[in-house]
């Protein structure tokens, strides 16, 4: 179907495209090993987060936690903020984002364009300062609604009810599903659905490994595991460094014409690892992976050009996924 009542109805239903040039070559007579990319950049605001934002808002409306005119508070500068800003605008809510003042200019412009209000926390204070600012805002506005994507079951349910069924419909022979691990919603929802329907399917996480600055915790006890995370849904979990993510992101556009953000490069890196293992073992594999968003928002990093080391330096200290 290509006609929708509104933009919100057009979320999901993204194409699954084969990657004939990046899929590994198998020896003559061996079973095929194929890579398939789910183009989530084709969602209304250009990222996979539209699915979760829509489900979280709808769930909150149905539960009576969100009423017309309410204010939604979200501490993110990432894709979820952009998705929520669009949904909030169309559903009649005000969105306030709390973010550090050193986020990219594109992010701020996109959020403001969609009508979101932004409260900045001083960059100098790092995450401790962001936490302090967020706490202060919440204390001053106890009536503002937080959807909390890291612990909101509607985030994972969006993928259980949409991403998973779409993949099975388009690729009934699927053997592996690979996606990024952040809130864990995509992997938990899609993974649970596929495990119920496809015997032996493997669910694989690709986790971004950032530069040192991002892990600036004072001690181990300040770590965080999202409430949605259930390790039993996964078969394997890869940590992908900046260099590998950039290399694969460039291959996506150079070899297959897919212009994606760096998290998608990290996901492809893990997908290629399992694909090559399948070739070695002589097993058939249909590996589906997620293109989480397009590359537009990351152009100003400069990491699409120059050497890999220059790109790595450009992304040092940034949350590139």
């Amino acid at each position: 179907m290509a006609r929708y009542e509104s933009l919100l109805d057009a979320a999901g239903g993204t194409p699954l495209v084969g990657l004939p040039r990046l899929s590994p070559t198998v020896p003559d007579g061996a079973p095929p090993v194929r890579l398939w990319a789910k183009l989530e950049d084709r969602n209304p605001t250009g990222s996979i987060k539209d699915r979760a934002a829509l489900f979280m808002v709808r769930e909150a409306e149905e539960a009576g936690r969100l009423r017309p005119g309410d204010t939604i508070l979200e501490p993110t500068s990432g894709n979820t903020g952009i998705s929520l800003a669009m949904v909030a605008k169309l559903r009649g809510y005000r969105l306030v984002c709390v973010m550090p003042e050193n986020v990219s200019a594109e992010r701020v412009q996109i959020l403001r364009m969609y009508g979101a209000e932004i409260l900045f926390s001083p960059a100098a204070g790092g995450s401790n300062q962001a936490v302090a600012t967020a706490k202060q805002v919440a204390a001053e506005h106890p009536d503002w609604v937080m959807l909390f994507q890291y612990g909101n079951p509607a985030n994972a349910r969006a993928h259980y009810e949409t991403t998973g069924p779409e993949l099975l419909r388009d690729l009934p022979t699927i053997t592996h599903f690979v996606a990024g691990l952040g809130t864990t919603g995509t992997l938990m929802g899609t993974g649970r659905y596929l495990r119920e329907k496809v015997e032996g399917v493997e669910i694989i996480a690709a986790e971004p490994r950032y530069g040192e600055l991002v892990y600036g915790l004072r001690n181990i006890d300040e770590g965080y595991v999202p409430e949605l995370y259930d390790a039993t849904v996964l078969n394997r979990r890869f940590s992908v460094g900046t260099r590998d993510a950039v290399l694969r992101t460039r291959q996506l556009v150079e070899v297959e014409g897919i212009f994606a953000g760096f998290s998608s490069g990290a996901i492809l890196h893990a997908a290629l690892a399992v694909a090559h293992e399948a070739v070695k073992a002589g097993r058939r594999a249909d590996v589906a992976f997620v293109i989480a968003d397009g590359g537009w928002k990351y152009l100003s990093t400069g990491a699409y050009g120059g050497t890999l080391s220059e790109a790595e330096d450009a992304l040092e200290g940034q949350l590139w996924a």
Partner: protein
Amino acid sequence: MAIEVRVPTILRSYTGGQKVVEGAGATLSGLIDDLDAKHNGIKGRLITPEGGLHRFVNIYVNDEDVRFLGALDAKVADGDSVTILPAVAGGALGFAAAAALLGNSSNRPAAAPDPTEG
């Protein structure tokens, strides 16, 4: 050849500030014992008194999470690269701020937030 171990900033007080140290062992458990012999106290930061991996510590052998490779029994060998990282997944900042906004600790059970708790 030895096993190369990458140490996160917050644990470098145990390694004299070294970012990368070398260790030996046939399993992750053996490797951690070897590391503790050279860098006294580091084991206590990685493993709980009950003997499991600390909840907020992730360890990767050649970029793969050891919890899916047998955890402390995961096989390691000379030439492997082991990376220790604090668990912050998709960005410490967003998580920390989100958790703080809810006024909850990171250990609370999975549930949709109740906005009336403010």
